[in-house]
């Protein structure tokens, strides 16, 4: 089971990196979304895969039964999902604004902050 998940995580990572290397900002965005999922799956796998009952204390009990799944990786993934979700939402707005304001989604053509032919500093007094 772990091997299968490791391969899946690897495929997700390679697809994400392929997309991140693209020039189009929308593809980069998709790459980031995919990267987030790959990391979440990695966290999930690193907490050991078991087919046990969810870590919720049932009514009438004071503690978890013995064969429950590890809740910590799930808490980590939940936090990571929340964070990557809000980042993705922010980046979505930013990319859209960048497309509107700069008129391109090609990152090579976004040279406003670093213009191509910037003058050299003066060499004499």
């Amino acid at each position: 089971m772990e091997t299968l998940f490791a391969i899946l995580v690897g495929i997700l990572f390679s697809a994400a990196i392929y997309l991140l290397l693209s020039k189009q900002s929308v593809r980069v965005l998709l790459g980031i979304a995919l990267l987030g999922s790959a990391v979440n799956l990695l966290l999930f796998t690193s907490g050991r895969l078991t087919r046990e009952i969810p870590p919720i204390i049932a009514a009438g009990l004071d503690a978890l039964p013995n064969n429950t799944a590890n809740p910590l990786p799930q808490a980590l993934i939940l936090t990571a999902i929340v964070i990557s979700f809000s980042f993705f939402a922010f980046l979505l707005v930013l990319t859209y604004r960048a497309f509107q304001e700069l008129g391109t989604d090609n990152t090579d053509e976004m040279r406003l902050a670093e213009p191509k032919n910037e003058p050299m500093p003066p060499t004499g007094y």
Partner: protein, 139 residues
């Protein structure tokens, strides 16, 4: 997107989703659910309303600015954590009171107020992002 059917259904759908989001928020206390997922449901309710009636209508309906809502939620969450200073226990320790309302014992905890804070933060921030995206569509 602005078909008659959608515009007729949207207010009911929004109301239903907000009630459901509060249900999920309160259910999260002992079972799966909670502030984050509840807040997301509420934020999508406002997004639906915005698609049907425009961003200005949502802003009017919300009354407060979404980011002010998020700020209030953040404040509520931190204060829930800080209350434990007065009880002599570390930060973020859950504290409980058991008041009787109409003869029923209702356990209230700083855990719930923290979760309500999370709910408000999510509603506020995600709604403001969704509205920013929808606003650009109109322009």
């Amino acid at each position: 997107m602005n078909t008659l059917i959608f515009r007729t259904v949207a207010p009911f759908l929004t109301a239903l989703m907000i009630v459901f989001s509060i249900f999920v928020l309160l259910r999260g206390h002992n079972e799966p659910g909670g502030g984050f997922i509840g807040g997301l449901i509420a934020a999508s309710a406002f997004a639906i309303y915005g698609i049907a009636y425009g961003v200005a209508a949502v802003r009017r309906a919300l009354w407060f600015h979404p980011l002010s809502i998020a700020g209030a939620g953040l404040m509520l969450s931190v204060v829930s954590g800080l209350i434990s200073a007065f009880a002599g226990v570390p930060f973020m320790t859950g504290l409980w009171i058991y008041p009787k309302l109409f003869g029923v014992e209702v356990p209230l905890a700083t855990v719930i107020s923290f979760d309500i804070g999370v709910y408000l933060v999510v509603v506020g921030s995600i709604t403001s992002i969704a509205l920013a995206l929808e606003e650009k569509d109109d322009a």
